[in-house]
Symmetry: C2
Subunit: 499 residues, 2 copies
Amino acid sequence: MKPVYQFGVFEAEFQGVAEGNPFVEREIFAQFSFKDQIKCIRGFYDGDGKYIIRFMPMQAGEYSYHVYGTFSDRTFSGSFTALPHQPENHGIAGVCNETHFAYSDGTPCMPFGTTCYVWHLQNPELYEETLKTLKNSPFRKIRFCVFPKHYIYNFRDPACFPFEGEPMDASILTEENFNYYNEDHSGNHFDFMRFCPEYFHIVEKAICDLEALGIEADLILFHPYDRWGFSDMSKEDDLRYIRYVIARFSAFHNVWWSMANEYDLMPQKTGLWREYGEFVRAEDPYGHLRSIHNCFTVYNHSEDWITHVSFQRCDLYRTAEETDSLIETYHKPVCLDEIAYEGNLPLGWGNISPEEMTRRFWEGALRGGWGGHSETYYHENNIIFWSHGGKLEGGSPARIAFLKEILESFDYNSLALRKDRMWDELRAETSDQSVILFYHSFMRPIYREYFLPENRTYQAEIYDTFGMTKEIIPGCSGKTRLALPGKEYIAVLFRQTNA
Amino acid sequence: MKPVYQFGVFEAEFQGVAEGNPFVEREIFAQFSFKDQIKCIRGFYDGDGKYIIRFMPMQAGEYSYHVYGTFSDRTFSGSFTALPHQPENHGIAGVCNETHFAYSDGTPCMPFGTTCYVWHLQNPELYEETLKTLKNSPFRKIRFCVFPKHYIYNFRDPACFPFEGEPMDASILTEENFNYYNEDHSGNHFDFMRFCPEYFHIVEKAICDLEALGIEADLILFHPYDRWGFSDMSKEDDLRYIRYVIARFSAFHNVWWSMANEYDLMPQKTGLWREYGEFVRAEDPYGHLRSIHNCFTVYNHSEDWITHVSFQRCDLYRTAEETDSLIETYHKPVCLDEIAYEGNLPLGWGNISPEEMTRRFWEGALRGGWGGHSETYYHENNIIFWSHGGKLEGGSPARIAFLKEILESFDYNSLALRKDRMWDELRAETSDQSVILFYHSFMRPIYREYFLPENRTYQAEIYDTFGMTKEIIPGCSGKTRLALPGKEYIAVLFRQTNA
């Protein structure tokens, strides 16, 4: 038996009733006891009479459990020891303060992320290539969909489907007619009451493979890019699906729940999101992060089931610049989950330059938010990173890694924006003012005056954030005039040297 | 005697009372008759007992006049013939429709402009160099101040002052203390009741020299960058000054009145602007264009004395992008009189790249507005184009010339924005759809589909607006897919070829 670790997964399998429709007709639960704490967990049916209980011990120590439910006439009991967590597993990401995230063990979490909507549904070679790419990237969060995706450049069927049944004929799809099938799902015959475990194995392998790389899996539960009818199920079907997904995936510490991608493109769900979000919160035994992503209109993030803001830019020009006002409005950390993608697609959300992508990450970082990347370079074979994964070819990932390295060189979780002079300056400081960071964005000062505390000495580190160079000027204090390169994308970090 | 032309200047000089203070105690008027039309004109005192009547005939033909007032015991009469206007003089610029300007004779006016606040107060060599620069530039409007300017990089006194008196000692000014003298004007001793004609000769030479180049003089009547107290006169002094300026300059067809630069930095004038603006409208016999320029808050341009919007961007990120909403709000043409300047100064309004400056002009043009340029490259000698004039060294003027040339190749005064797909497309069309113009700004599509009328044939002209290249693709109709360079700043103009 594999050892069980704190923040890892304990899994047990039980044979039970296979007749009828166990997905609907049967239930399996487990009660886990740790010292005087008791937690009740829902298990799930995995086909072929097989029922699974999956559990994440949040503490190290002795656990006992009792398994029961309509899946079997029998009940089961057992116990195991959760070993102290492995060094690279810090637990579940959670909200640390109004701007920052931290893991269960207190380690800061820096969720600079990317998006590959259905990378897990691609062929094995592409899948492995994506993992390799992610491993070598600065991204430690990836947004992807539980359901398959129907969209331009995305007409192929996945190898299998989340429900039993038959899809429409995908060979008839063209760039001209594909939008029609967003509305008309009549060519499909799926039984939303029968999950297809094989499909969910694919999703959970993806979650586990990401876990091994230390990457958060920001799972999108619903999305509108759909020809199969998965976006248009009844409320009863939706809730059964949510419950199944949570029972299967919530024991993986790296899971985040994104209720929707572009919720506002799914008018059929209007008025349901709050109920669904509260349902997720109630069903999830661990309290994974919960968000909802917009297209044109930011969701009302005051609703208290929402842990953080998942923001798609609503304006072509002001993007990451909205971060601080979102924080002021909602008092929740902000993930900039779509601030356009680096690439050259015909569509406006997918064709910004690496310079502009990097600039948006920096703007976001100083304002207290977490940039989101993806890449949308056109290829004749329709393999585009943002949906399918594969290799990265753009210029921004290296610069985002450079930004991360700079942030990791100090206590970035205490960095806060100062709003005195926002008309031409972004200034953020750590709470002890040992680091004072300026970002000049597209401005190109040839020199500039900085106002530092009088009684301390700093070294200035002048970063060309796109050129990835660093120049050090020691001995700065009080009013400090620095010569600068007179080009775009310069950051100046003052680091206290006389602490 | 010099010939007098329609839209030119008729000028006559009269000797009168020199004793006392003629600026305050004496008046001179003239009544001009043309056919059955009569116009009353105020003249002005030019010192040494000399009174001047200056008049712009708006028609060609026979004029007679009668001069009277307290300047003399005598009255004077005379007549002259106004010859038809010279070909390069089209009269006064006025509002043509909600977005465009035209001259008195109906010629479209394209007021792409620049700013050199006090170029006219510099030494003769620099002054001549500025004129040469402007002549060879694409700019046909220049914003400058009647009063001298006190600001960083602007500490030198002009050769003379608009009023009799003595200025404070300018040699004490430093970058550290200069701001103090914006408030404390006590070191100056000016008599605001006695104009200094020599100073106004300098301003009017500048207006005339611009006129010879076909350039509009957008005269700023008040501004806050002042150590002499000219921004802080009494209302009575202000109105006397306005009346004097109008009497002197309004006969020059190329004059525009800008009530203020950054009106909202002059709290001492709060509540007075409407009265002053209406006073200008009442005093000006010709109806020159009237505007008011903001710093943080756009003035309420609904007030009907205002002919057009003079807009300084209020946000670092959305600049020329506000054009169409300003037009929708105020139904008046928009001059983008400050959308930051190309340069490398430390201050955020003065350090954008030539690419970004050019982009703002294009964004403005498709949205129905008129870009405003200036250049703020730092020089050790503090000669910076935006204040002093001199040479241009930036990259945007050539690209603005390229934009002008493209606009002038069709009926740009009928160009109107279409708002169907603003989330990733700027599309403007002439009223007859013979030209359909797209601008892709910072987006970088590698191809794109355009939807043109089915029953017409167009040639596509693909412009690299910064690289200044043009590629022609003939035979476009209906749905048209074009390969594009996949880089920033591309415009595509479809020009009908089967008219």
